[in-house]
């Protein structure tokens, strides 16, 4: 079995937003939709030792995705490799899934009428390529791979380092693991 997941190394992210732009280009997104924003929080510390944290986001391709459970049309679906995606020909645009995603990773362009979201670039990864945001990241802050393969880079990172997941307490089992920039382990 395959279980795609992403590790995001916040120690490496410099907040350049290249992944955001790359994603917009590859997926030809409408003006007002962003699949993978890079948000920043802070500043912490005291001058001159100050620090800003960058958090690249994307759909967490949750193992227990509330967005799939609540879709009445079976348009929101999860494949065996864990990828959560929406079939635009089945989505009636009720937006329940967008309301139910705790990460705000779904959006709709009014003129299109269906929900759009990150697909982990499923067409690329099933051909053996990396998602476009991962391929673009010059800092190697985004690492993608198969969590079921113990030799993959993501498996090794998740096994070896203390990683965090966003809103883990909700039981959605998000599959994007963050290596925190502060208080994280050394590689």
């Amino acid at each position: 079995m395959t279980r795609y997941a992403m590790v995001i190394d916040q120690r490496r992210c410099i907040g350049c937003q290249s992944c955001t732009v790359a994603c917009r280009t590859w997926n030809e997104l409408p003006t007002d939709i962003i699949y993978n924003p890079v948000i920043s929080s802070g500043v912490v510390g005291k001058f001159p030792n100050v620090h800003l944290t960058y958090t690249p986001e994307l759909c967490m391709h949750c193992d227990n995705p509330p967005c799939v459970l609540c879709c009445p049309a079976k348009a929101s679906q999860q494949d065996n490799d864990g990828i959560v995606w929406v079939d635009p020909n089945k989505c009636m645009g009720c937006k329940v899934c967008a309301q139910s995603c705790p990460y705000g990773m779904r959006s709709m362009e009014k003129s299109e009428g269906y929900i759009r979201k990150c697909t982990f670039c499923k067409d690329r990864v099933r051909e053996g390529e990396q998602p476009y945001c991962v391929a673009t990241c010059h800092q190697k802050a985004r690492i993608f791979g198969d969590l079921d393969d113990p030799n993959s880079e993501v498996s090794k990172l998740v096994a070896k380092l203390k990683t965090e997941r966003i809103h883990e307490e909700l039981g959605t089992e998000p599959q994007v693991y963050y290596i925190p920039d502060l208080g994280g382990n050394d590689l």
């Binding site: 003006t31 007002d32 948000i39 009445p72 049309a73 009720c94 705000g104």
Partner: protein, 357 residues
Amino acid sequence: MRNPVAPVNKMSTKFWTWPIATYLFLGGLGGGTIFMAAIYFFIGLSYEAQGLPIEYGPAAPLGFGIIVGVVMLALGCLLLIFELGQPKLFTRAFIAKTAIIKWGAVLLSVAMICAILWWAVYYWPPEWNLFWYSWTGFGNLMAVLAMVASMGLMIYTGILLSSMKSRPFWNTPAVPILFTISAMSTGCVLLSLCLHGAPFDWWMFRTYQESPLVEMMLGVSMYDYVYDGLHQLDTILVIAEIIVLLLLVIMQYSSSNVTAKSVARRWLAGETKWIFWIGMVLIGLLVPLFCYLSGNEMLAGGLAPVCALLGGLLLRFLFVYNNDRRGIPGEAKYYDRLPDKDDPIFNPYWEQNGSIY
């Protein structure tokens, strides 16, 4: 203070807007009306067992209310479909059994169809003299189904919101309780208005006749019997609604969740405080309560219903428009900095693949 939690992207802040708020209101209202009508219908049946023919008893004046309830549900359906991104795919609402909204669609359909059949058996105008008039067993079955489905509908509108873990202010069991009480209360009000407003001889129970038996058995006319009963029940429901609403908001205000707390603060003392205190609490709840308690027929029959219906609608709007998502540190800042979709400088160039320089 800025809203600490930004939605998925700034330019489509609200996924759900007025059609969904109104749909939730109409779904509850129609459900409540049919439910209350079914209760009085069964009270009428029980009086029949005691010797008061059903066409003279409390079941008689409900016909118009049932139809109005169905019309409310139908309007709600239309709004829901209107709000869809791809309305032509609306039949897909029935596909996945894990989805709460599918159950809403099923309940809505069952309530409408069964209520119409129930009405057709018992309340169809007598001049038309159709063959199914004698199918009372079937009519009773439809009444039971309509009652169950409409009860489900009242609860479902609250469950739909409270099931969302992503929205901490909605994600509490108090929400379905509040929505159910409110639906039942608005249902009482609408049904009592329909008793008033019915074009009587046509919408009345088909074989209705004046009979001295009614006053003997019920003490009042069957019309007053239902009307007074609904008002008494609504008095209790309004009191319960005040208690649950205040408990919910105060509980959320003292919640450890920052998002839930910020919405509660917005209601109690922030941007929406006037809508909440004056619109919802005073006009929507306290005024109807005062009208009922005053015993003044004009107030209880005229002002109270208008205020109570307004309050019910406002409640749905307040909830739907306060859909704050659980925050992730830094999101609000990010989305606040994005240009508006109709930004006069940014957008024209973007659309034309031009350059902003």
